[in-house]
């Protein structure tokens, strides 16, 4: 009987571990460091669905579509190529899902609407490009997107952009003809949340520029290592007691990443208060080593 109970425990443990891996609750990165929080770049296509736990997005791919080539690593301006999707077997359209961390954008914008207007302006200045749909608010699931369509040289494109956790998350669609584009755009309507209704776990509110001296009670400088003068963007989650709960070094060498993580774990902030109560927040800061490595 005991052995049966033990066997059941073992099977349950294995199952829980698999579920954790499968659905992103446990993510192992960079050797032994364990991040309990999903990262923006951890989204993946499994079983015909693109799923991103950080952004709480689930997108069923159109039939016969797969992931294309992998994109670059996250950039030093907090830009992510989340995935690029392509049809099989013939390339007649593509979809790029990307995100820009609004904390680190090389051209800051107040909100996603302003960013999309700027994008529309930039596209209108491209020689031979026509704006087919002015920036328009569209509702997909329970999210508000800003859609803009444009075309030129026989390529028809639409971009859907929304704000999630202080990121501009965009779906960039390109097709050979307007009908293909329309079909692809309609597939975006199937976008939904990973977690449904009440089962969604709360995410920290994002607060720009919180890691400033007036909010920092204890600060330990990271040892300068690796290339100098290169910006290193970092997102952190500060818990409701002011401790650093989670560190995401977005773009750095391995030695820079370790140096910054070691230092940031020792930082202490004034707890952020919302309606008089301390709450967990997500904020960003940029390191730039300018002195020589010792």
């Amino acid at each position: 009987m005991r052995r049966l109970l033990l066997l059941g425990l073992v099977v349950a443990t294995g199952l829980v571990s698999w579920v954790g891996w499968r659905y992103g609750a446990v993510t192992l990165r960079y050797g032994t460091v364990v991040y309990p929080v999903p990262l923006p770049e951890d989204g993946k296509v499994l079983g015909g669905v693109y799923r991103n736990d950080y952004f709480d997005l689930s997108y069923p791919l159109p039939e016969a579509w797969t992931e294309g080539l992998q994109g670059p690593d996250p950039s030093d301006t907090g830009y992510y190529v989340l995935t690029e999707l392509v049809p099989q077997p013939e390339l007649n359209a593509t979809m790029l899902i990307a995100a820009q961390d609004m904390f680190f954008a090389s051209k800051p914008h107040g909100d996603v609407a302003a960013m999309v207007r700027d994008f529309r302006q930039a596209m209108s200045e491209v020689d031979g490009m026509t704006i087919d749909r002015e920036p328009t608010e569209v509702k997909v699931g329970d999210r508000l997107f800003h859609r803009v369509d444009f075309s030129g040289v026989g390529l028809y494109r639409a971009t859907f952009t929304t704000a999630i956790r202080c990121h501009a998350v965009s779906f960039n669609l390109t097709a050979r003809d307007p009908e293909l584009l329309a079909n692809l755009a309609s597939s975006v309507d199937k976008l939904s949340s990973v977690a449904k209704g009440d089962s969604r776990s709360p995410v920290p509110i994002c607060v720009d520029n919180y890691a400033v001296p007036e909010n920092t009670l204890q600060r330990v400088e990271p040892a300068p290592v690796g290339p100098r003068f290169t910006p290193i963007p970092v997102r952190i989650i500060v818990d409701n007691q002011g401790g650093v709960k989670h560190i995401h070094v977005i773009h750095a060498t391995a030695e820079q990443r370790k140096s910054i993580e070691d230092a940031l774990r020792q930082w202490k902030f004034k707890p952020y208060e919302l309606n008089g109560r301390p709450v967990e927040i997500e904020t960003g800061l940029v390191f730039r080593f300018t002195v020589a490595e010792k």
Binding site: T13, P87, L96, V153
Partner: protein
């Protein structure tokens, strides 16, 4: 629970967890980790018409320079084309014996010529060098870098192809070439070809804020194309660096000084020590090229005569005009005061043998539409320059001079400054119409293959190349024709 039961359960848990993961997620893992087959474009791809014929639209000085500057340029051009010998500083190790041999085509200052001079220099003047297998008579001039040291730590440095052993002007020197065959067998060697130096004075004259402004202006567009990018920086003063395949060099003077020592073995004011220290191969005092205190004559330019070689080389490049495109569109379009620096460079206008101007104009539109110009930024603008007539000049290099991740297909696994092993500077495309070899290692002479090589795992260019593959054949061909018109 008995002791025995615990002994059973601990490995049991581990095995069961592993088994559960493997069994239940096996297909998912396979999908995630194995490269997916890539869809095929439904149209035939374009054809490279080959390098544009006619006179080279390059090689002369910038329009608008003063008489003394032009005189210096003319004198410096002669030094740039000088062939070095051991008494003049060549070796002990080297890749070629003159700047102008590598930077040769379609005019002095350019890139690899059709006949690779490295084959002949291997045995010149009695030398006994073996020509490495990656050097071919009709291939590109190449330098070789080793990725790692024998102990596995990163190397990345240039390992010169040749030695002066056996040359009549190097008696007693007996050093050996690196073992390139072994390095090739170990996949430990990568190649670089010469970057063209046309128009680089204008590039040098763009303030950092100007490069940043151009970069920021395309930020939203890049974001819709999967492109990020970043600048390389100088480790001493923190300013942007912009020369070389990875934008690793700060200035044309450093570029010249490093190349003089590394490629030819000539010590100089910037790099005054020999890399090869074998005492039997030292024939000169150092630096082998330095400021001349007494002899101020060099053609019509005393300033050139007093200056060391690397100052001459740097000023030659600084005053070297951009290539003139076949379309006749001036490479330099706006002058600081509206009176100078407008029009065709003195090197002469190229005669177009490329397809119709209609196709080229349409191709320019394709270039912008599919997203090439998001990195190969069409125009930049100089700031205040001490070269006559070169302030506030708008020019068309087709580069943002930023680094971009080019993926596993183009990676060379060599880090330089802030550039990692997959990052390269957006190669300036001006003059590409008359280039013979493409990409950092000269792996192809077909511009269509060079375009397609931008796409691989991890590359920032994947979406743009997908756009290229989505084009109809006519638009693709127009784009290629446009590139060959530059």
């Amino acid at each position: 629970m008995t002791k025995h039961a615990w002994r059973w359960s601990i490995p049991g848990i581990a095995i069961t967890m592993l088994g559960a993961t493997a069994l239940s997620s096996g297909p998912a893992l396979a999908q995630f980790r194995q490269p997916q087959p890539q869809p095929q474009p439904s149209t035939a791809t374009a054809v490279d018409p080959g390098p544009r014929g006619g006179a080279p639209g390059a090689g002369g000085p910038l329009p608008g320079l003063g008489a003394n500057e032009v005189a210096f340029f003319t004198a410096a051009t002669d030094l740039f084309n000088e062939v070095d010998t051991v008494p003049l500083g060549l070796g002990p190790r080297f890749n070629l014996d003159g700047c102008g041999g590598c930077h040769a085509f379609p005019a002095t200052g350019g890139s690899s010529p059709p006949v690779n001079p490295q084959v002949a220099v291997a045995t010149a003047n009695g030398a006994k060098n073996t020509v490495p297998s990656f050097i071919r008579a009709n291939g590109p001039v190449r330098e070789a870098r080793f990725v790692n040291n024998p102990n596995g730590t990163p190397d990345g440095g240039v390992h010169d192809l040749f030695v002066i052993t056996g040359r009549a002007d190097a008696p007693g020197c007996n050093i050996a070439q690196p073992n390139f065959a072994a390095a090739l067998a170990a996949n430990n060697v990568i190649f670089r070809i010469p970057t063209p130096t046309f128009g680089l004075g204008l590039v040098e004259a763009v303030p950092d804020s100007g490069l940043q402004a151009t970069f920021a202006a395309s930020a939203q567009r890049r974001g819709s194309l999967g492109i990020s990018g970043s600048f390389n920086h100088n480790g001493n003063d923190g300013t942007m660096t912009r020369f070389g395949w990875k934008a690793q060099n700060k200035s044309l003077l450093i570029f010249a000084g490093e190349a003089y020592n590394v490629e030819q073995g000539v010590t100089n004011d910037n790099f005054p020590n020999e890399r090869e220290t074998d005492p039997n191969c030292q024939f000169n005092n150092h630096p082998e090229s330095a400021t001349n205190f007494t002899d101020g004559t060099n053609g019509a330019s005393p300033a050139s005569g007093f200056s060391s070689d690397i100052v001459n080389f740097a000023l030659f490049m600084r005053m070297l005009a951009p290539p003139t495109p076949a379309s006749g569109q001036a490479p330099v379009t706006v002058a600081s005061n509206g009176t100078t620096a407008v029009g065709t460079a003195a090197g002469g206008s190229a005669t177009s043998t490329t397809p119709s101007s209609t196709s080229i104009t349409a191709g320019s539109q394709v270039f912008s539409n599919v997203g090439c110009s998001a990195c190969h930024a069409t125009s930049q603008k100089t700031g205040k320059s001490n070269m006559t007539g070169q302030s506030n000049v708008t020019f068309r290099p087709y580069s943002d001079f930023a680094l971009h991740d080019m993926g596993t297909g183009l990676q060379d696994r060599v880090s330089q400054g802030g550039a990692n092993g997959r990052q390269f500077r957006s190669a300036p495309l001006w003059g590409v119409g008359q280039r013979l070899f493409f990409l950092h290692d000269g792996r192809t002479n077909d511009i269509v293959k060079a375009i397609e090589a931008h796409s691989s795992q991890g590359s920032e260019a994947n979406t743009v190349i997908n756009n290229f593959n989505l084009l109809g054949r006519t638009d693709q061909q127009n784009l290629v024709n446009f590139l060959r018109s530059l």
